[in-house]
Structure formats: C-alpha cells, structure tokens
Symmetry: C2
C-alpha cells in the first residue's frame, strides 16, 4: 500500500512541517527533496496518504500537515534518533557534574533538559522504592517541637515534624540509637514490620514519644510513593504563541497538576517513550506530545521527559531525553 516514494513523501511532510510550521505543498516537496517525479505525482501520493489518515489538510487548497497517526508512523518507522554533537555532550556532563546533592542534581538536570530540547522539561524525584533505610535521626528544635529525619540508601532525605513532649536529650539519644540499630539496612516493608513491635520495647517513661516517632517514620515510609515533580523551561512555550489556545493554555494547566504529571512519567521505562497528541488520553494534552524515559540506578528509579507541541523535532528530542537520562543515571550511580 505504501511504497518507497510515499514514505519519502510522508517523511518530507513531517520534517518540513516541523521546520516551517506551515502546511507543505506538493511543489515544495519535489523541490526541497529532489524526488525525480512531478508535483502531480506527489499529489497523488498525498491523496493516498490522506486516505490512510497519515496527513490532512487544514482547509481545501492548503498544503498537508501530519496527523497524530502520521507522526506516530514517522517516529516508529521513518526516523531514528539524531545523535547529539560532541559539544552538547560535553555541556551536559559539565553542567551535571557540578551538583552537590540530590536536590541539586534534580534541579540541574531538569533545567538542562529544558535548555537542550527548548521544551518544557519535567522530572520526578527518584522513589525510595527498593532502597533501604540508612539512618534515622531525631533533632529537637524549640519547645517540644522536633524534626524526624530518615535517610535512605539512595541518598534521599525525608523529614517530618514531631512532638517530642518533655523528653530529655539523653533519652532521645538513646531512642535514636535504638532505632538505627533496629532499622538500618531494612527495606520499607520490613522496616514497617519491625516498627510495629518497636514501641513496646521502649522503657515506659519514653513510650509516648516513641509512639509519635514511630508513627512519623511509618508515615514517611508509606507516603513516599507520590514523589515530587520538578518543572523547568516553561518559558519555552512562548515560542508557540500561535497555538495559544491549543497548546500553551492546556499545557500550562496540566503542568499544575502533579497527579497527571506523575501518571505521565510513571509510564516511562528504560527506553524512550513517545506519546503523541490524543495518545496521551488527556484532553489538555490532545495537541501536545510527551517524550519521556526512566532514569536512575536499581534502588532509585524515576522518570524524566519533556512536553511540547505535537509538531516537534522528535529525533533530536528523543536523543536529548535519552542522553540526559543516561548522564544523570551515571551521576547518581557514582555518588
């Protein structure tokens, strides 16, 4: 059904439309892509492609633009990823290697991704997931307020404020030591089991505080799932000031909804995932595409990606997303 030349025509339409943002006509194709046929022939091919649903006309007597299905075919069959230049690679490593802690890594990564793709970048904090508890700390602040801190093997630090009552520092030190001995090295499920028994092993006079703290730790272990999402490069949307209603407004609305973003990134796995337009199953993203992938090391895994108009340079974007994910994974693995 689709011979070699029709594929070439589709490829030409996608690439030219992405470049120019304007419907592309038959004459332009033969000229820019030196197909050795006449424009009338290309027109016939275009009619066929339109019948198949790969392209469409904004109105009679305009050129063609790709449909979601057209982009999908392009991504799956007609194009690979455009490798990054050496300069880009160097810039990525240089920028990421300056990070001082997990927070900093995430912030830098998402900004970097926004910059290299010229799109809106979104990134999820690594989940504790398969990681183990490394340390529990209790810090008294003022009056009876204190702070409970749990660090996991991925280097993630979670905190909760707790009521320490009138317990004295010595008792707190003791409690902390006991908690660390009991929990260090345990995964979240096992830790929760141990904690269930823990309070009863504590001397009566600090029982009350211990109960509060145990509850706090359990809370941290349990509510770790909905990880934070960071966004950067929203101003990149302004380059699509036409398409305000179709792209900018809905995407901005979506970016405020953490839940939706989490779901988008949740589908990411080891290879680069592309969701085009309606494929996102979300009204606000019906004219936007999401390019995402997973990143991290075995005990700290999460997603990152970009959001942009369906008319985007998929080969470059996919390559950038993959590259950034790999580099940040490496950084995470190293420390």
């Amino acid at each position: 059904m689709l011979d070699e030349r029709k594929l070439a025509v589709l490829r030409a339409i996608v690439t030219d439309y992405v470049r120019s943002r304007e419907p592309v006509g038959s004459r332009a194709i033969v000229e820019r892509h030196h197909l050795d046929v006449s424009s009338a022939t290309v027109r016939n091919d275009m009619a066929a492609l339109e019948d198949e649903g790969y392209i469409t006309q904004p109105h009679t007597s305009a050129g063609r633009i790709p449909t979601d299905k057209g982009y999908r075919f392009f991504v799956d069959r007609l194009a690979g990823m455009k490798p990054l230049t050496a300069v880009e690679k160097r810039a990525i490593t240089a920028f990421l290697s300056g990070a001082v802690d997990l927070d900093d890594i995430v912030t830098r990564t998402v900004r970097l991704l926004a910059q290299v793709t010229s799109q809106v970048a979104i990134m999820q904090y690594p989940t504790m997931g398969a990681s183990v508890v490394r340390r529990v700390d209790i810090v008294s602040l003022h009056d009876s307020r204190g702070l409970l801190i749990v660090v996991n093997s991925a280097g993630k630090v979670a905190q909760r404020s707790v009521d320490l009552g009138s317990s004295d520092p010595i008792a707190l030190d003791l409690l902390r030591d006991r908690l660390n001995q009991a929990l260090a090295g345990l995964g979240p499920r096992r830790a929760a089991e141990v904690l269930a028994e823990f309070a009863s092993t504590v001397p009566l006079e600090s029982r009350g505080v211990a109960v509060g703290i145990v509850a706090g730790i359990l809370d941290i272990l349990a509510t770790d799932q909905p990880t934070k999402i960071v966004v950067a490069g929203i101003n990149n949307l302004t380059q699509f000031s036409d398409e305000f209603e179709t792209t900018i407004r809905p995407v901005l609305d979506t970016l405020e909804e953490q839940v939706v973003l989490l779901k988008l990134l949740g589908e990411a796995s080891t290879d680069v995932m592309v969701r085009i337009g309606q494929e996102n199953m979300h009204a606000n993203l019906s004219s936007a595409s999401v390019v995402a992938t997973g990143y991290g090391v075995d005990d700290a895994w999460a997603g990152l990606g970009v959001v942009g108009p369906t008319r985007m340079d998929y080969p470059s974007t996919m390559a950038s997303v993959r590259a950034v994910a790999r580099y940040v994974s490496r950084i995470l693995a190293e420390g």
Copy 2:
C-alpha cells in the same frame, strides 16, 4: 490641585478598568458611580488627571486607563485592603494546617496563594539566617559515598554528598558526636570559626575524611544564602491571553530566573510591598506588578508574593498576600 471629585474619578477609572479590562469613558463613570455631575465635567477632570500623569489614552477618542503612577496613587491613597471573607480564612487555615514538614508547608502555601489570588505565586524558602545549627549527621550510602546532613533550628535540612574514603563506621560515629558537640547551638558565623580549627583536633587516621566533611559543612553554611524559590499558579497567566507579548511572555521568562525572583522577594519586609510596572526596574516586568511581603518567625525569615499584570485588583491581592503570610508564619511558629 486634586480635589475630592478628581480623586473619585481616578478611583472609578482604576476600579472599572480592573474589572472590565477596557478603557473607561466619562459617561460610564457618571453612570456607574452616581457622581452628581455631567459627563462634560468629568471630562474636564480627566483632562486634569491626564496632565498630572495619572491616566492616559490608548488613542484619541478612547476612554482612559490608569498609568503606573495612577495605580501607585490608588494603592497609596485611595484604597485600603479588602478584608478576606470568613470562608476564605477558614479555607486557608484548613489547607495549611495539614502540612507535615517544612517542604510541605512551602508547597501548600504557594499553591494556596496562587489559588486565592488567581495570580502567579512565588515563595522563598526560609533562610537559615539568624538560626543556629541543631544537628550534624553523617550517613554512609554505598562504596565510599556518604551524605552529610545539617539541620538548623528553623527545621531546615541541608545536605551534601561527601567522599568518606575507607573510614569505618566506628570512626564516623565518633566524628559525628564530636561535630555535634562542637557545633550544636552555634550560628553560622561562629560555627564556621569553630570548624576552621576542628580538623586539627581529629586523630590522624580520620583526618582526611574530617577535612572533607568540614569543607562540606562550611559549604552548606556559606551557600545557604541563595534560597530556593517555589512557583505556583502559572496557568493563571492564561486568563490574560490578550497581553501575551506584554505580560505572559516576559513574566514566564522572568519566572525561570531564580536570581531575579530572589531579588524581588528580598525587598519584602513586614508589611505588604507593591511594585507597579516600571517600578520593578526590570524590563520583563515593566507591565507587571509584584505584591510581596515577608513571613516567618525571628530565626527563619523569607518572602512570598504574587506576580500579575499591572491591571490587578490590588486591595484584594494585598489582603490575600498579607493573610497567607500571617497564617504561614503562625504555622511555622507553632512547629
């Protein structure tokens, strides 16, 4: 120069223009604000107000719109703050009191502020500032990588990854205890002084690690200044889809620049500050206004506020910003 009626006219122009987004004419004023004079009289007043620079015409034969100077006068002299309704107050407390830690407080607050003002909200994390070091912790992760954690009395947790070399757990515990004894209760300046001497007091075999850790703490103490900024409600900008070039694009650009935002919020003090248009001294904000204020308790102080078009409802916005700042301060004070 400006008699009672001229002030009333200016007030009418500001309020009507904020409501309708359209230049307001003399006839509309006498009708909507039952001034007992004719439109011709109002026209004379308007001519005077225009001479003084409080209002201007987009073009001949259009109504008048306020200038920056006009808004400024309105804010300073013609309007107070419009108190919040009981419902709003209750919603604020309810929403904020569910927060579990500092991170959560900040996130909730900034979203809340965006929602009640229908503007873009920005909020700065509390600075350590006058606070004191409460606890230092060292957690070993994997291989030789470790995590250094510093908690201050404001409940803020800072972290750095450090190289722990091949030091054994016992030595680390010792080091941690010594650090806590040395630093607990000290302000950042004094702590830095103590740290300068610290490494030389450590046994030779763990000297190397200690040096790295001391450097990390110093780094945390030193780089605490540029605190993080959180943004919410960017989608509220889409209500001004006219004004794309004048408001949306430049504001979006500005929001990506942490430095600029920090400077904006840095000027905030105890009362509500309003910067109108050009007063922001920043090209991108020349048709935007910033309403900001400080919040926090004595040892943890920072700024929060909103950014929107100069044409905004100042009385309501100012009241909301102040109310949210007060509630979040109270929450912080309570722990």
